[in-house]
Each structure stands twice: as structure tokens, then as C-alpha cells.
């Protein structure tokens, strides 16, 4: 036992629990956990969306078969080319656009639709709550991938349809969190005061509920973006994601799978980008959660 017994007793006689040493990362280092991933994400997004506009890169599609299968660091093709001769660097940039759009699109739909449904269910309760939550429960209990697959299959492969299909993952998840947060707030004194002073329901939600559950929803959103990016690739693996010749990081990995033993770069390069992005999102989400005291 490291702490001698008398130390457990504070001067006023109250029991004090041995405190865990604070992490050595304090002050600036702690800020670094927020700024480093945030800057990386902003730079990466700027590169994906801006680079092709200001700096000429080869087209991501319609490459010449004569250039097929070049190794990385070939002249003019920094990451090499894929089996049909498309420049991989260019496909990474354009695929990044698609990945970011899918990730943020799916999360935005979940945040708005799921968040509003969850808050309404949590705030008013009653029959609306019962109906909304049962529907969300069924969506959560049902293997969502089957639903997403069926929707992607029914609508046909395209980026927008992938976003719709993946929203069936994000809406119920956000709905649950928003509802839980709202119910926890409902008993608070300031909520009661607002209600007693005759404030309308939607005004209470927009002025009191949203600001209070925003940190929770925001940190969860960051995780959600990463999950959506990964799931988009999963749909590509099943042949229902972003259709060729378009690219996304996930679909590049899925198509690279076929030639993994001959040219692993086709899998490793987009995987590295996907992994770095999702790690950044998760670290950023964790750091913000810590700073905002979200449990």
C-alpha cells in the first residue's frame, strides 16, 4: 500500500481518496490534443477539395492503360497508378472529397433528424415518445447493414444513395443520445423555471435544451463522421458503394483487395488516409469530451 493511513484523513477528518496523478500532458500539451488533429483534418479537407482546383493533377478517371500499375514515386505519379492507369494521388484527393462528403452528410442528417426527434421525444414524453422510441428501437435492433444494403441495392449505387442508406445508422444513434440528454435535463431547476414562466416548448428546446446537450452531440458527431467513412467503404466491399470509375477511400480499398498480394500499395495508401482521418476525428472527439466534461 503506497499511501500511509494517516494521509487518507484530511485535516477536517473527512476521508480523502488517494488522487490519481494528473496526466503529464497539461496546458499546452492538452491543447495540442485538440489542435493537432483539428489542423490535420482541416488541412486534409482543404487539400482534397482545394488542391485539384489550384494545382493541376492528372484526372482521377479515364487514365491510359499504358500507365497502368506504376509503382509509387514514379515520375508524374507520386503514389503510382492503379491497374487501369489512373493516378492514385489524384484518386486519393477526389476520393477524399467523397469520403468527407459522405461522412459529414450522414452525420448531419443524423444530427438534425435524430437530434430533433430525440429532443421532442425526451421533452414531451407520452405517446410521441413511445412511438418515436419504438421506431428507433426497431431500427437499432434490426441489423442496420441489411437495411442499408437493401436501400443501396434498391436505389442503385451513387454517392447520394450511400448517404441515405447510411443515415439509417446515424439517425437512431443520435436520437437515443438526444433523448437521454433531454430527459436528464428535464428535472433541472432552470428547466422548471422556464416552464413556470410560461415559455413555449420549442423555445425551451432551442434556448435551454440545445445549448446544454450540444457538447455531447458534437463530440458524438466527430466519432460518427469516422464511422460513416468506414461504413461507406464497407458498402463498397459488398459492391453497393460508390460506383466505379468514381472513387472514395473506402471503395479504393475495396477494389485494391483483388490485387493485394501483387500490389499492396493500392490498399495501403487509401487505408493510411482513412485511418489517419478517423484517428484524428476520434482523438479530437476524446479531447473535446474531456475539455467540455462530457461523460
Amino acid at each position: 500500500m503506497s499511501t500511509p493511513l494517516p494521509d487518507l484523513l484530511a485535516p477536517d477528518g473527512a476521508l480523502q481518496v488517494q488522487r490519481i496523478p494528473r496526466p503529464r500532458t497539461r496546458g499546452r500539451a492538452r491543447n495540442l490534443r485538440i489542435w493537432l488533429p483539428a489542423c490535420f483534418l482541416v488541412l486534409l479537407a482543404a487539400a482534397c477539395f482545394g488542391w485539384p482546383l489550384v494545382y493541376p493533377v492528372p484526372k482521377p478517371t479515364g487514365g491510359s492503360i499504358l500507365n497502368s500499375g506504376l509503382p509509387p514515386l514514379s515520375p508524374g505519379h507520386i503514389f503510382g497508378t492503379d491497374p487501369v492507369g489512373n493516378d492514385i494521388f489524384s484518386r486519393i484527393l477526389h476520393g477524399g472529397q467523397v469520403s468527407f462528403e459522405v461522412g459529414f452528410g450522414v452525420t448531419a442528417i443524423g444530427l438534425v433528424v435524430g437530434g430533433l426527434l430525440g429532443m421532442a421525444a425526451g421533452y414531451w414524453g407520452g405517446i410521441a415518445d413511445a412511438i418515436i422510441m419504438r421506431v428507433l428501437d426497431v431500427l437499432i435492433a434490426f441489423p442496420a447493414l441489411v437495411l442499408a444494403l437493401a436501400i443501396a441495392e434498391g436505389l442503385g449505387p451513387s454517392e447520394l444513395h450511400v448517404i441515405w442508406a447510411l443515415s439509417f445508422f446515424s439517425v437512431p444513434a443520435f436520437g437515443r443520445i438526444a433523448r437521454g440528454g433531454t430527459i436528464a435535463l428535464r428535472g433541472q431547476t432552470f428547466m422548471l423555471a422556464a416552464r413556470l414562466s410560461g415559455t413555449k416548448g420549442w423555445r425551451i428546446i432551442s434556448r435551454h435544451v440545445i445549448p446544454n446537450i450540444a457538447p455531447q452531440l458534437m463530440t458524438f458527431s466527430l466519432l460518427g463522421v469516422g464511422v460513416a467513412m468506414i461504413l461507406e467503404g464497407a458498402l463498397s466491399f459488398l459492391g453497393l458503394g460508390i460506383p466505379l470509375p468514381e472513387a472514395s477511400w473506402g471503395s479504393m480499398i475495396a477494389y485494391g483487395q483483388q490485387t493485394i498480394s501483387a500490389s499492396p500499395d493500392l490498399v495501403l495508401i487509401p487505408s493510411a488516409f482513412l485511418f489517419a482521418t478517423v484517428v484524428s476525428l476520434n482523438v479530437l472527439g476524446d479531447a473535446l469530451r474531456e475539455r467540455w466534461g462530457v461523460r
Binding site: 500500500m1 503506497s2 499511501t3 493511513l5 487518507l8 476521508l15 481518496v17 488517494q18 488522487r19 490519481i20 496523478p21 496526466p23 503529464r24 426497431v138 437499432i140 435492433a141 434490426f142 441489423p143 442496420a144 447493414l145 441489411v146 437495411l147 444494403l149 437493401a150 436501400i151 441495392e153 434498391g154 469516422g226 468506414i230 467503404g233 464497407a234 466491399f237 459488398l238 459492391g239 473506402g250 480499398i253 475495396a254 485494391g256 483487395q257 493485394i260 498480394s261 499492396p264 490498399v267 495501403l268 487505408s271 482513412l274 485511418f275 478517423v278 484517428v279 476525428l281 476520434n282 482523438v283 476524446d286
Partner: protein, 343 residues
């Protein structure tokens, strides 16, 4: 009701009666009854979703070159021309007799298909679960022993990696490293357990790692955070310390059992989401489990096979969550699930 039973002549407490009246059995019965509408909803939703897809199985099976007459004939043969409710009613009626119908694509009995493929998926999932839980408990205890120590930093890094890596990326990297380069494990294929237990385990190790590593990361993170929090603020930990108990013993005997509750809940919840992981990982390793046939059947609009797989997984999820609740009662005697005493 209970009174009526007491008054019944000749009623004496036999073992079966005692089991039947135990809170656990009552809970199980109640939960199983409550699960029936949920399961029914899942089968209906599957039928509706599969029915909303454009085209039908006859068209998918015959391909784009089939004439309308051919398609129509196959539709009649497969009873696809009957209204939706009639088909669903037939299927549901069969379910009560334990008959899951026949595959539209192969004409095989769905029960037979599941009987062949479920053991593979089951073994894979059990392997992944047992390995990830065992490793997670070990690492979390090591990490929580000294927060911010070396083991703790390692656990945080590893679990962050596992949370961020896509399972299919992990699978491909594992194949490239351990199958293509090092040749320690077979890249694809499956050897039955009865054929050669060693080869069976080897053929399942990489897919189990791809499914299990993300689970392991989630569990480690949760368990570590929970144990650290308990060690920090719970009174019984202070008591144990005050009476001079060894730190390791406090950790293993007091903190860990309490922290296992959160882990058990999470494991129960995770089971349902694993259908997706199985559907992606199994085809990558060419495992003859339910994952591959699920995707194929969705593409073929083979409703009975999709239904069969969805129902089996839904039943497993319901049973797993029930088991979780019963385990709670075993682990914590204060939880009784008695509706009369609940305030």
C-alpha cells in the same frame, strides 16, 4: 394467481415448482414473451424491405436476357405472383412449424443452409468474443493498476488504434502480413473442426482477429475507465485500503467484478451489430458462413434465406440480452427483478 396455486390441493414444493417460481425464471419468461412482438416486427420489416426492392427473384435468377413469359412462369413456380400478405402469411405459418421455407435461388431448405453455415459463423464469433474479452480484461487490469503508467499509455494507444481502424482494412493488412508475407496462417478457406482442430483454429485466427480487435479496443477502454473511476471514488475501496489489503487484491477482488457489469451490457449490445462485421469479413476470407450467403441472397432477392438469417440473429440478440440480465442477478444479489419490491 399465486394464492390460487397455494390453495390447490396437494400442492407441495417440488424442484420444478421452485425453479418455475424463482425470480430468474419469471424474468426469463416475461422477457421471452416481450420478445415475441419484437421478433415479429423484425420479420415483417425484413419482408417489407425486401419486397420494396425493384425487380424480384425470378428476374434476378433468370438474368437480363429472360423473356417476360419466362419470368412470369418462374414467378408462378416460386409463388411470387401471389399478393405480399399471402406470401408473408405462408412464411409465418411455416415458421410456427419450425419450417423456414426454401431458398428461391437454390431450392434448398433454408434450415439446411443455416445448419451448414451457422456453425462456421458461430465458431468464428465465439473465438473472436472469448479472445477479445480475455485480452481486454487482462490489459485493462494492468492499465488500471497504474493510471498514466506505461501499461496504461499502451492500452490507450492500442484501443484508439482499434477504434479507428476499419475492420476490412485490418483484415486485408492481416492477410498481407501473416498470410502473404509470413505465411503463418492461410489467407482464405476453412477447415472443419471435425476434420483437423489445429487447422480449423488456424483458418479462423485471422478473421477472428479482424472481428475481435475492434471489440477488444472498445472493451479495454470501457473497462479501464470504469476500474480507474472505482479505484478513485468508491468507499469500499477506501475501506479495503484502510484495512491494509494488497492493491492487486483490491483491484481483482473488489474493483474488477464491479466493473464487469458495464462490460457485460456492452457485449450483449454488440452482438446485434456483428451481423454487419460477419457479412464483410467472411467473404474476404472465403469462409462458408452465413455472411457471404446473406449478401448473395439480398442481391438475389432470395427473401426466405435473408429472413432465416435475420431471425436467427434476432433470436440470438434477444437471448443474449436476457442472459445479460440474468447474469446481473447472479453477480449482484441486490438485483432481484421482483416487480413488487421495485419502487
Amino acid at each position: 394467481m399465486a394464492v390460487a396455486e397455494e390453495l390447490r390441493p396437494g400442492a407441495h414444493t417440488t424442484l420444478t415448482r421452485r425453479v418455475a417460481r424463482s425470480p430468474g425464471a419469471r424474468l426469463a419468461a416475461r422477457r421471452l414473451l416481450a420478445a415475441i412482438p419484437v421478433l415479429w416486427g423484425v420479420t415483417l420489416l425484413t419482408y417489407v424491405v425486401m419486397n420494396l426492392l425493384p425487380g424480384d427473384a425470378a428476374q434476378e435468377l433468370l438474368g437480363a436476357n429472360a423473356t417476360p413469359a419466362e419470368v412470369h412462369q418462374l414467378e408462378i413456380q416460386l409463388h411470387l405472383n401471389e399478393p405480399f400478405w399471402v406470401r408473408y402469411g405462408h412464411w409465418l405459418g411455416g415458421l410456427f412449424h419450425g419450417d423456414l421455407g426454401t431458398s428461391l435461388a437454390s431450392g434448398q431448405n433454408v434450415t439446411t443452409i443455416l445448419g451448414e453455415r451457422l456453425p462456421v459463423t458461430g465458431e468464428l464469433l465465439i473465438y473472436a468474443f472469448v479472445a477479445s474479452i480475455a485480452l481486454a480484461v487482462g490489459l485493462a487490469v494492468l492499465a488500471a493498476r497504474k493510471p498514466n503508467g506505461l501499461a496504461d499509455r499502451f492500452s490507450i494507444t492500442v484501443s484508439m488504434t482499434g477504434l479507428s481502424v476499419a475492420p476490412y482494412v485490418l483484415a486485408l493488412i492481416l492477410i498481407y502480413l501473416f498470410a502473404v508475407r509470413l505465411r503463418w496462417f492461410p489467407a482464405i478457406g476453412y477447415t472443419a473442426l471435425t476434420q483437423d482442430p489445429g487447422a480449423n483454429l488456424r483458418s479462423l485466427t485471422l478473421p477472428a482477429a479482424a472481428i475481435g480487435f475492434p471489440l477488444f479496443s472498445v472493451y479495454t477502454r470501457l473497462l479501464r475507465a470504469d476500474i480507474v473511476e472505482q479505484m478513485q471514488r468508491e468507499d469500499y475501496i477506501v475501506t479495503a485500503r484502510a484495512k491494509g489489503m494488497k492493491p492487486w487484491r483490491i483491484l481483482l477482488r473488489h474493483a474488477l467484478p464491479n466493473s464487469l457489469f458495464g462490460l457485460i451490457t456492452l457485449v450483449g449490445l454488440n452482438l446485434g451489430t456483428l451481423v454487419g462485421a460477419v457479412a464483410i469479413i467472411e467473404p474476404i476470407f472465403s469462409l462458408p458462413g452465413v455472411g457471404a450467403i446473406l449478401i448473395q441472397s439480398i442481391n438475389n432477392h432470395d427473401v426466405p434465406v435473408v429472413e432465416g438469417i435475420v431471425v436467427v440473429f434476432a433470436v440470438v440478440v434477444v437471448l443474449a440480452n436476457l442472459l445479460t440480465d440474468l447474469l446481473y442477478a447472479v453477480l449482484d444479489p441486490r438485483i432481484t427483478y421482483d416487480e413488487h419490491s421495485a419502487s
